[in-house]
């Protein structure tokens, strides 16, 4: 038996080194810091928010930003800052859960298609390519229409809208890895397919998928906001960034801050996710592997 030196697994590399290294540059520090701040705000919303997100105060409706309502109030006199802080909870959790579902399903489909090939692969990839050529907002709209408006259907709609991306990416990774020498060697050593898939192929395919998943959380936040804006996402009084902008449209001329600030927050979130994802791609050195075909 040849003694094989135990090296660090991909999981450890991902959790430790690369993420830490991604914080190395100035961009990484700013964007990563912003992301951590957002998650922190979302988790501790009840302790941070200066006001209750749902309490109405009609006497103080449509107030311009000033102390104590730092970002102003909406048409019901609700504090915009507090609603933004609670909205972070809705937006982040919906998008993150959706992308988690999407990654799990997409990796399963993609790995199976890439590993087993044949008719199964052709059928899966035809369907996936079909949905991939459709704009994500259209796919999400169709599924929200089927499931009815609400946060749960928004979540599934986002998950389905990005499923194709993860399936394609995972399949590409598996197909590429399948022909590598070390997999051939493992097969020759008598490893079973399940062992190869779980122990060798999937861990190696993981890092690009995780990074794309992180970037997709940003896209998911925009999609959630868009659906919310159409009135198909979070229903009142649940605060969500998209729904805030939707209710603000009627007040566009009276109280533009109700629309401006949620948009700024969405944009900042997505930008920091993108920048940090970029740093992560560099520090993992997987830019070449991000291709889907």
């Amino acid at each position: 038996m040849i003694a094989i030196k135990k090296t660090k697994s991909v999981y450890q590399r991902l959790a430790g080194l690369s993420v830490v290294r991604a914080f190395g540059s100035t961009m990484g520090k700013i964007s990563g810091g912003l992301m951590i701040l957002l998650v922190f705000v979302a988790i501790f919303a009840p302790w941070i928010a200066p006001f209750d997100y749902a309490s109405q105060d009609l006497l103080n409706a449509n107030l311009a930003p000033a102390w104590p309502h730092v970002l102003g109030t909406d048409e019901f006199g609700r504090d915009v800052l507090s609603r933004l802080i609670y909205g972070a909870r809705t937006s982040l959790s919906v998008s993150a859960t959706a992308i988690f579902i999407s990654i799990t399903a997409g990796m399963t489909l993609g790995a199976a298609a890439g590993y087993f090939g044949g008719t199964f692969e052709r059928v899966v990839m035809t369907v996936v390519d079909l949905t991939w050529s459709f704009p994500d907002i259209l796919i999400a709209l169709i599924f929200v229409a089927i499931l009815g408006p609400g946060l749960t259907s928004t979540m599934f709609a986002i998950a389905i809208a990005y499923l194709a991306q993860f399936t394609r990416l995972t399949r590409a990774q598996i197909v590429r890895l399948k022909n590598e020498t070390f997999i051939e060697a493992t097969i020759n050593l008598g490893a079973k397919p399940r062992h190869i898939l779980w122990r060798h192929l999937l861990p190696n395919a993981l890092s690009p998928v995780i990074v794309v998943g992180m970037l997709a959380i940003g896209d998911g936040i925009v999609l959630e906001a868009t659906l919310g804006f159409f009135g198909l996402g979070a229903q009142p009084p649940t605060p969500s960034w998209g729904a805030m902008m939707s209710s603000g449209t009627a007040q566009l001329f009276l109280a533009p801050w109700v629309i401006i600030f949620p948009g700024v927050v969405v944009a900042l979130t997505v930008i920091s996710v993108n920048l940090f994802g970029d740093e992560l791609i560099n520090s993992l050195d997987i830019r070449e592997r991000m291709r889907e075909d």
Binding site: L130, I137, L141, I142, T226, M245, G263, I271, L275
Partner: protein, 298 residues
Amino acid sequence: MLIPVSIAISMVVFMIVHLLPGDPIDNLLRIGSSPEDRALMVAKYGLDQPLFTQYFLWMGAMFQGDFGQAIVLRRPVIDLIGQNLPYSLVLGGLAFAFSSIVGMLLGTVSAVVKNPILERFVRGFILLGSTVPGFWLALLLILAFSVTLGWFPVSGAKNWQSLVLPVLTIGFGGVALVARVTRVALQDAMREDFVMLLHAKGLSPGVILIKHLIPHALLPVVTILALRIGWILGGAVTVEFVFGRPGLGSLLIRAIGQRDYPVVQGCLLMLALAVMIGTLIGDLAQASLDPRVRENKS
């Protein structure tokens, strides 16, 4: 490939729409109608037939250009589409042209000019364009140019001024995308050996750029542009909604709300068709630009 895909799409569209909860008949019946009235109405629109039969009836009619009767609006779907399609085509076409031209220019400039400030500006613009939600940008533009400055109308589609803001909104994301792809493609092309040879031959940088680099870099750009035709239509959905313009997008959103099956089916099929035609055009353009693809095909 195009035919099986179209059939698959038509089946998916047909099935999806029949899974929608709610029933358009409910919207049509007057309050207090008897179950018999309801059965009569169901039979009139063929909703009592098995799904399979409904599909073939629908497909058969489709080939004759008959998309069925809109249940809520009570007009032929083909009329509704015909009425709304031109608005979407004009908007989509202009946005497409705008994002291609400005995007390629911006991408080329950012790849060629070695100026750190300009470089940062372009990179920032690309980042903003690909992350800012379209409907929010639309609202900001309305706020700035329609409300404050009063240059353009807030909504509607009466004259050319009403096109400016929607085109800018869709185009913003498109410009960012095209600029990014152009930039990367040009930078890749500059590293190729043949470009070094051209420099060694003493050709001027401008000639190299126009005669050799740009044709070489055009390939990925054209591919992305063709793939994005569907996405521009998707952008049009949101933007038409915000600006209150007629078009396929606003027709679709309204029809989903009213559960008007035939209209939803018609709109989705048109959009799917547009996506596929876009991909086809992309393939053809690729073939005419890339001798390798051309020879493989023949």
